[in-house]
């Protein structure tokens, strides 16, 4: 799950080396992905009215649905 977020994030930011994705598993809510990027890259990941972040979440859901699990993404 992590690698998909990492690929998209790294392809969109100015500082790909600052991209860090961590994965936490919660019995109730499935996988929680935490994405951290350089401060000046936050806008490139979130987008106007969170449009980019929402699109990334939609793509994560496809992968999660295929695996029969739940996954959510938080940008920190």
């Amino acid at each position: 799950m992590k690698d998909l977020v990492e690929y998209i994030a790294k392809s969109l930011v100015n500082a790909p080396d600052a991209v860090v994705v961590t994965e936490e598993t919660d019995a109730e809510n499935g996988i929680l992905l935490k994405l951290k990027v350089a401060d000046e890259d936050k806008g490139r990941i979130i987008g106007k009215q969170g449009r980019i972040a929402q699109a990334i979440r939609t793509l994560i859901r496809v992968k999660a649905a295929k695996a029969g699990i739940k996954a959510s993404l938080e940008i920190i």
Partner: protein
């Protein structure tokens, strides 16, 4: 973009070999010298010269850069999503290209089994995939490309059925004089309805509502 690192006795020799391997001329590449190399004494303490040769993006046509980047990006994402699918360039772009003023889109069809999951409700997931792919390609190549994605010809079929629907409903509205509201549709689908009926003598079309609930109303003229 092609890049290679080559070692040889001298910088000139390494450069020449690298260019040969990449099939480029000196003008089409950037050359970075990593190590000048040392000749040493009788071969003792000698160090090879090392250069990194990178293909200069400026000589690759924009269209080619966009296409390579789009296919790479898509294939990587599909792979990371655990989807077994192939990406093909769709040459018939009529379904997503209906006004001569705009640039012809570059359409890719993603084909494979069980890809309904990639289309999503009213094509929302497909729209997200297209959005992210466009962003990545624009970011990586510096060109904003009119990329359009389809899954197993979904949009193409939708295009045909929306045009038929539009004409049928329009004829009915014209006949009985009552306006008819269609179900909510994404922007590009509403656009198909508007364009199909733009020349219709008996009706006018209008979109109402907000966000996901926006829909077309077909009214008698």
């Amino acid at each position: 973009m092609k890049e290679i690192e080559v070692s040889a006795r001298t910088v000139e020799e390494a450069t020449e070999r690298a260019l040969e391997q990449l099939g480029l001329s000196l003008e089409q590449a950037e050359i970075e010298i990593i190590s000048e190399g040392k000749s040493g004494l009788l071969g003792i303490g000698s160090e090879p010269a090392r250069v990194r040769v990178t293909e200069n993006a400026n000589h690759i046509p924009a269209g080619e850069q966009i296409e390579t980047c789009a296919v790479d990006t898509l294939e990587t994402m599909l792979n990371l999503m655990d989807l077994d699918a192939s990406v093909f360039r769709e040459n018939d772009t009529s379904a997503s290209y209906d006004d001569e003023k705009s640039e012809a889109p570059i359409v890719y069809d993603i084909s494979g089994d069980d890809l309904g999951i990639l289309i999503g409700r009213r094509g929302q997931t497909l729209a997200c995939l297209q959005y992210i792919t466009r962003l990545i390609v624009t970011r990586q190549t510096g060109y904003s490309a009119p990329l359009v994605l389809d899954v197993n010809g979904y949009k193409k079929r939708r295009y045909e059925s929306l045009r038929t629907l539009a004409r049928n409903v329009a004829d009915q509205v014209e006949r009985n004089g009552n306006p008819c509201t269609l179900e909510p549709m994404p922007a590009y689908e509403r656009r198909i309805i508007h364009l199909t009926l733009a020349e219709h003598p008996g009706v006018i079309t209008e979109s109402v509502g907000f966000g996901e609930d926006r829909k077309v109303i077909i009214q008698p003229k």
